[in-house]
């Protein structure tokens, strides 16, 4: 299709280079495969059972949804610290609208999604138009949300009574849990929009070089705002499913997602395309995080081991992709 330069017989020095390039691109996938094989060999019965594999996917689902949304913000070259509290916020709001206001399920879900969109717009306006640094802006909205969460819930979990809401996260279609279906749908849409639509192309351009994107006629502000709204909506979907799964809305519900979502997205950035955030990569990152948790739990490891493993794997993956990029370098003369 295009002109390529074919390398002559590779000298020895080139072999190391190639190996490095290979590990930089596929290292994260190799880690994932090694984990599956490792746990599979150690505990074939428990780990490789169909039930457990579906269970792993089910445990991954909520993290994958929120990490997918976060990926948009990262692709746009921004940062979001507010999604954890958006998760709690939309859970509390959804349960509150059901229990306290007695609204029907679709209205309650719609209401909490709309509220999340408003938060996303606020983030976007602060960052894209008022030019406040994303970390500061989203830290501020996050703190405001935390306040609202305490205000609305009085600090105590709002528990669900009888009703069909808990069936959403606990139910299944054709043996596949609904959160897994939701995850597949959300990730498919996110991938499609990021890779096959104007918004997605413009998001990537904005994140790569904002000044150049602006001079190419890309509406940088609007695109950035859209990224924050997408992240907020994904966080809200996650929050609603989470409250449905645990049967209540809690102020601390989303806290655990903050670090794991970042870990997954950064792990994903070293999958195949080194240093660039992308949806499939994030999904691989989510799987690594979830499988590590699941496998270590089956092995009977204590919870601190999971944190050690998660931190070290993240470091290793990012270090590998950064080092390889430096060694392989920009090929210019």
């Amino acid at each position: 299709m295009t002109s390529t330069v074919t390398a002559p017989a590779a000298p020895a020095a080139d072999t190391g280079r190639r190996a490095l390039a290979f590990f930089a691109s596929y290292g994260t996938l190799i880690v994932l495969a090694a984990m599956i094989i490792g746990f599979g060999v150690a505990r074939p019965v428990e780990f490789l059972s169909e039930r457990n594999l579906i269970n792993v996917l089910n445990q991954s689902a909520l993290l994958a949804i929120v990490a997918g949304g976060l990926t948009y913000v990262l692709v746009a070259g921004q940062f979001d610290l507010s999604f954890a509290n958006i998760i709690s916020f939309s859970g509390i709001l959804c349960v509150g609208l059901l229990e306290r206001s007695g609204l029907p399920i679709p209205v309650a879900i719609g209401g909490s999604l709309l509220a999340a969109i408003a938060v996303g717009i606020a983030n976007g306006v602060l960052v894209a138009y008022l030019r406040i640094h994303a970390i500061v802006a989203t830290l501020a909205t996050s703190t405001v949300l935390l306040g609202l969460n305490f205000l609305y819930s009085n600090g105590a979990p709002i528990t669900l009574g009888e009703g069909g809401f808990t069936d959403i996260a606990r139910g299944a279609l054709a043996g596949i849990p609904i959160p897994v279906i939701a995850m597949a749908a959300v990730l498919a849409i996110l991938w499609l929009v990021l890779n096959r639509t104007l918004l997605g192309h413009h998001l990537q351009a904005t994140g790569s070089n904002t000044a150049a994107a602006r001079l190419a006629g890309v509406a940088v502000g609007r695109v950035t705002l859209a990224a924050f709204v997408c992240a907020a909506v994904c966080a809200a979907i996650c929050g609603v499913l989470l409250s449905s799964r645990i049967g209540s809305g809690m102020v601390t519900a989303g806290d655990g997602f903050l670090l794991s979502a970042f870990a997954a997205a950064f792990l994903g950035a070293s999958v195949i395309r080194d240093g660039q955030f992308h949806i499939l990569g994030t999904f691989v990152g989510v799987l690594i995080v979830s499988i590590a948790g699941n496998g270590l739990a089956i092995l009977g490891a204590q919870s601190y081991v999971l944190y050690l493993v998660q931190g070290l794997v993240l470091l290793a993956a990012v270090a590998l992709s950064t080092t390889s990029r430096r060694v392989l370098g920009r090929r210019r003369t």
């Binding site: 295009t2 002109s3 390529t4 330069v5 002559p8 990537q204 070089n209 150049a212």
Partner: protein
């Protein structure tokens, strides 16, 4: 040894053209590309040594090897006769080699004095340092360079020319005996360039080995004692003073004698309709009254020194900056672009002079770079989705048509892997996709070799034949001889116009200094 001692001024060694750095049989290979094929070169103290050559000819790789940014595959580097290995940039500094690039490595918020002293190892790491005032060593270095601006101001407030002097002063404080300058005059006007060349001359007369890398042959001819020309990863010629002529340099760079090309056609085209009319456009202090007309199918040059408002005028026409007063008309209708997107819709395109900062998405693919603002034309019919396969196929065709040399990966590879000339072709291709009626090219050949330069002008010519109106801004007035008409700008306003046979470099310069 204190820093003050190091820059005490005056030659530290007896003036002699002694060899300082000797490079022998240096080779460097990137994958399938042989960037250096056994290069021999010697840099002497007290000599200004020019390095010329097309992009990718190997001069940058040589410099990067000396700077410790690349490790050569084989060959030797001797400094004062001692075989040396340069593992990293700080080792290069310790060896007395300073490399100053276009992207000056200065801390913008630090003062000039702090920047000059940065990295000089006097005292313990945690010893208190003065953060105000001017360090005596910095002052000495500044005096040696004839610096006449204040050293206690942040570097962010300095001009590019002044920043170069700060960088050179830093090299002096580090007692560097070889100072390499990579395209130092690229963004300087004629006056500033002349002053910088004088500084280079003075450095050499104080027994420093000066390395001058430039595409501007006039300056190379004026300044250098010895010039090494690179071609295809090797040295194609080393010329000394008496034998140093433009003809021989071009011959060594290009490989064949290229006759100075003069435009075949230079009709004033006064019968053709006016496409763009700019009347007395003003913006702040940068634009103080610009007036010009652009006709259909015309190639209009804008000449002017850096800071004359050329780029600002282009940005105003392109809607990147709002104007304070004045009026523009496009195809006879009032034209006041509210944004870049608005200008693009009106058929105006601008290829910026800052290729890396304002043009390229370095980590994205060639395809993405090409289509960033025309993805809407690659949608599958009746859907909001773009077709990846079709986009890539078409991108490959466009790249081929533009003469882009793609390496491994084709149009999927990140554009960072292409050479400067090829990147520029892709950017030109991007804007041609928007089907502009008015194409603005700001310094389209900056950092581009002679071969690619001629190719770019050939393409511009063929575009004007299709009726496109093109404005070219260039600091190299010789290039503007290609134009049908040249408007000269000075201090923010248009000061004159040259047509047909009256377009000469002298006249352009004369108007600039009116």
């Amino acid at each position: 040894m204190s820093a003050t001692e190091l820059v005490s001024g005056g030659p530290r060694r007896p003036v002699s053209a002694s060899a300082f750095v000797e490079v022998q049989a240096l080779t460097k290979t990137y994958g399938a590309i042989r960037a250096l094929k056994g290069v021999d070169i010697t840099f002497r103290r007290g000599e200004v040594h020019g390095l010329v050559g097309a992009n990718g000819a190997g001069k940058s790789t040589l410099v990067r090897s000396l700077a410790g940014l690349e490790q050569p595959d084989s060959g030797s580097i001797r400094i004062d006769g001692v075989e040396t290995h340069v593992p990293n940039p700080s080792a290069a500094t310790r060896l007395g080699l300073a490399f100053i690039h276009q992207e000056l490595n200065l801390v913008e918020t630090f003062t000039a004095s702090q920047n000059i002293m940065l990295g000089s190892h006097e005292g313990a790491a945690l010893a208190f340092r003065r953060v105000d005032g001017v360090h005596p060593a910095a002052r000495t270095a500044a005096e040696r360079l004839g610096i006449d601006f204040r050293l206690d101001r942040p570097v962010a407030r300095l001009t590019v020319h002044q920043k170069w002097l700060v960088s050179i002063a830093r090299a002096l404080v580090h007692d560097c005996q070889l100072i390499a300058m990579d395209e130092p005059t690229a963004s300087l006007d004629a006056n500033e360039s002349a002053r910088l060349l004088k500084v280079a001359r003075d450095l050499a007369s104080h027994d420093v080995a000066v390395l001058f890398i430039s595409h501007r042959l006039d300056e190379v001819l004026e300044l250098c004692d010895r010039v090494t020309a690179f071609r295809d990863g090797g040295v194609s010629a080393t010329l000394q003073r008496p034998e140093l002529t433009r003809q021989r340099l071009v011959e060594a760079i290009v490989g064949h004698e290229s006759a100075p090309s003069r435009p075949a056609r230079r009709d004033s085209g006064e019968d053709r309709p006016v496409v763009l009319e700019v009347s007395d456009v003003r913006r702040g202090r940068a634009l103080t009254g610009a007036t010009l007309q652009l006709r259909e199918g015309e190639l209009l040059g804008i000449a002017g020194l850096v800071g004359s408002g050329r780029t600002e005028l282009a940005r105003a026409i392109f809607g990147a900056d709002r104007i304070d007063s004045g009026a523009m008309r496009l195809f006879g209708r009032p034209y006041a672009p509210t944004s870049v997107a608005d200008a693009i819709r009106h058929g105006v395109a601008l290829v910026s002079e800052e290729r890396r900062a304002e043009g390229l998405f370095l980590d994205l693919s060639v395809t993405s770079n090409l289509y960033v603002n025309t993805w809407h034309k690659r949608r599958t019919r009746c859907t909001p989705f773009t077709s990846a396969r079709r986009a890539e196929r078409q991108a490959a065709e466009i790249a081929q048509e533009l003469g882009v040399v793609l390496r491994q990966g084709g149009v999927r590879q990140p554009i960072a892997g292409l050479s400067g000339g090829n990147q520029q072709k892709v950017l030109l291709g991007r804007w041609l996709q928007t089907e502009p009626a008015v194409l603005l090219l700001d310094e389209p050949t900056r950092g581009v070799d002679i071969g690619a330069r001629e190719e770019i002008y050939r393409r511009i010519r063929s575009l004007t034949r299709t009726g496109m109106s093109v404005i070219v801004i260039s600091s190299e007035f010789e290039e503007l001889l290609e134009c049908d008409r040249v408007v000269v700008m000075s201090a923010g306003s248009t000061v004159g116009e040259l047509t047909g046979a009256s377009i000469t470099v002298n006249d352009m310069l004369r108007l600039c200094y009116l």
